[in-house]
């Protein structure tokens, strides 16, 4: 009796897509692509383009931090820019005071993380709902924005570093090799460092998500109640997720302060917060690569709008956000992915139908059974094959 081929073929459709996006193959593919870009771009691009590319990479790190805590931890933080800004300011203040950049670099990651720990404690251990979470993170960002904005006078300084208020802090010293202040990082070095950091963060998050704590984090998003009943302290896992996200955002802030040698209160602004959310929504919630794609696309778009001065960028960003929430809620990358998967499975099905027809011609006895199996495979909503 001839068994049709479909019983042994891999799952199709969204299932196969999900399996691929969770597999190590996709991580390896992404990192390989990233490494290729990391080595090729500095040879292809001139200095100016490379500096432009660096800010895209830095913002991608910021995007991935929200992609992680929102897409995997289910924490919608409207104030990811608070941690980004804290990272930038911490680095700027510390490097002005200390000279050597090693400790400031570490501080720029630790301070936002510590701040997130306090804030997260108030939110998660107060068992505040998602809505309060959003409003409180928004409020904290506004507090920081107002506070820093009002520190323009010379009396506002930490150590020897004036805070500068709405003027910001100019002339921030760049990173140097640990212990040697004179060996500072150049534009190319900063590009490589940022890109390396992005790939490292991506790999670490992928690795974390494959471990048991990572799975618990995802579970706390899916069903917090059930997780609690299984004996896990969901609050602690959420707090950990939140703090890790803040640390990554702080790293991005530190690199951003390095990129422009300047930081101003706009890093805390609502517009900045909104942008991060738009990157994640547009790129695709629940993926790590999607938000990076969204970040680069939106940044490119805002730069284009900024250069031609006819349409207001807020108008466009707002419209994009509304349209995506209402019409493409999954975001670009997953939508493209399922489109591709649907196409592939349709092609496969056509091929299988041809096979079945051929089989029926060869062996009339097997006909009804083969047709039944094929039908069952079609009926199953997930495209999983019936064995």
């Amino acid at each position: 009796m001839t068994r049709p081929a479909q019983s042994s073929r891999p799952a199709q459709g969204p299932d196969a897509l999900q399996r691929f996006s969770r597999s190590w193959a996709s991580a390896a593919l992404t990192v390989a692509l990233g490494l290729a870009l990391l080595f090729v771009l500095p040879h292809v691009l001139d200095d100016f383009a490379l500096v432009q590319a660096t800010v895209y990479v830095v913002m991608s790190i910021l995007a991935i931090s929200l992609a992680f805590i929102w897409g995997y931890g289910g924490i919608l933080c409207f104030g990811q820019s608070a941690f980004f800004g804290l990272g930038a300011y911490t680095y700027a203040i510390a490097v002005t005071n200390l000279g050597d950049s090693t400790v400031p670099f570490v501080l720029a990651i630790v301070v936002p993380a510590a701040f997130a720990a306090i804030l997260g404690y108030l939110i998660f251990y107060g068992r505040l709902s998602d809505v309060y979470m959003g409003v409180i993170t928004l409020t904290v960002t506004l507090i920081l924005f107002n506070l820093i904005n009002s520190t323009a006078g010379p009396e506002w300084k930490i150590g020897t570093a004036p805070l500068g208020g709405f003027n910001g802090i100019p002339g921030i010293a760049p990173l140097n090799t640990p212990g040697n202040i004179d060996d500072t990082i150049g534009p190319r070095g900063l590009f490589e460092l940022s890109f390396g950091a992005l790939l490292l963060v991506y790999l670490l998050l992928r690795a974390l998500l494959a471990t048991k704590p990572g799975r618990v984090i995802v579970a706390s998003k899916e069903n917090e109640q059930r997780l609690l009943l299984l004996g896990y302290d969901a609050r602690a896992y959420k707090l950990f997720t939140f703090v890790l996200g803040a640390a990554i955002a702080g790293l991005a802030g530190c690199l951003f302060a390095n990129w422009g040698a300047f930081t101003s209160p706009t890093v805390f602004s609502l517009a900045q917060s909104a942008q991060i959310i738009i990157w994640v929504i547009v790129g695709g919630l629940g993926t790590l690569v999607g938000p990076v794609v969204g970040c680069i696309a939106i940044q490119w778009l805002t730069t284009q709008i900024g250069t031609q001065q006819t349409i207001n960028s807020n108008l466009v960003l707002g419209a994009i956000l509304v349209v995506f929430v209402l019409m493409v809620p999954k975001g670009i990358v997953p939508s493209l992915g399922s489109l591709g998967a649907a196409l592939v499975s349709r092609l496969r099905r056509q091929r299988d139908m041809a096979n079945v027809n051929a089989a029926v011609k060869e062996d009339p006895d097997a006909g009804p059974q083969a047709a039944k199996i094929d039908q069952a495979a079609k009926l199953d909503p997930h495209g999983e094959t019936v064995r």
Partner: protein, 288 residues
């Protein structure tokens, strides 16, 4: 003595302006559970409506009390029909969409009116208490805030309109079965909330600069007040405004206005840790 009077007036003013700022959101978020992050932009539209109406020669008071609420109420109806209604029950999506809406409105107004500060000077001049001079408009805001809370409570408790609105929010199917069109009630409630926001924007326009991004200054305060107030709409609004307004003004006296705002927001966050259900989740239970 004079100083005490001034401090009292300033504290009452802070409380009252919080009521004014938050009342529209109390209706839209407190009643309808629509997290309207475009609330600040509704206020901004109200302020612009007031200014434009005055440019056309309309009396300031008419502009504030009629033109601003009407304009923003109408805009609210359109936005509810086009966007908000697709999102009922989806809190996070509502938050994101209304944030998009807020950016959209800022962008649209910037494109039309430009990014410059337009202003109306405060009417009615000043009066003096001892050595201190106070703007009479401050008193107007105090009175309007108090009246607003009373009227809102009266409408919700003692008119059939309020009863229908509350009933529909509680159980739309039941209201539908009783011959009330829930979709109409949702539209109307949203429009009233939007109109209140627009009115607040118009009322505060003489005191704050009118710029497209002015909404950002109000949004956090409004949300914190409504959330801090808890489930009872009017009592929560008034009690949270009283608490936060007093904190704000006292801290402002002790330091600077910026630290006053910081004290308000930090105090609110700590209060939410202690009373996650808001003030009326613990006290004044069962009131409205």
């Amino acid at each position: 003595m004079d100083l005490a009077a001034i401090v009292l007036i300033q504290i009452l003013y802070a409380i009252s302006s919080l009521i004014v700022i938050s009342s529209g959101l109390a209706v839209i978020f407190g009643m309808m559970k629509v997290i309207n992050l475009a609330h600040g932009e509704f206020m901004m539209l109200g302020a612009y409506a007031t200014i434009e109406a005055m440019r056309l020669g309309i009396n300031l008071w008419v502009a504030i009390f009629v033109v601003a609420p009407l304009t923003v109420g109408l805009i609210g109806i359109v936005l509810e029909r086009v966007f908000i209604r697709r999102l009922y029950g989806r809190m996070i999506d509502t938050m994101l969409a209304t944030w998009g809406l807020s950016l959209l409105l800022i962008g649209a107004v910037t494109s039309i009116a430009g990014n410059t500060t337009a202003g109306v000077s405060a009417p009615l001049g000043n009066f003096t208490i001892g050595a201190y001079s106070v703007s009479s408009y401050t008193l107007v805001i105090i009175v309007v805030g108090a009246l607003l809370a009373l009227v809102l409570r009266w409408v919700l408790l003692h008119t059939s309109l309020g009863l229908i609105a509350r009933g529909t929010m509680q159980n739309p199917q039941m209201a539908d079965a009783l011959g009330i069109n829930p979709s109409l009630v949702y539209s109307a409630t949203f429009a009233i909330g939007a109109a209140l926001s627009g009115f607040a924007g118009g009322l505060l326009a003489p005191l704050t600069g009118v710029v497209p991004t002015m909404g950002g200054a109000f949004i956090a305060k409004a949300f914190i007040t409504v959330i801090g107030g808890g489930p009872a709409i009017v009592v929560g609004l008034v009690s949270a405004s009283t608490l936060f307004g007093a904190i704000n003004q006292i801290a402002t006296f002790a330091s600077t206005p910026v630290f006053g705002e910081v004290a308000l927001l930090v105090g609110a966050i700590i209060m939410l840790r202690l009373l996650p259900q808001g003030i009326t989740g613990r006290f004044f239970k069962g009131s409205l």
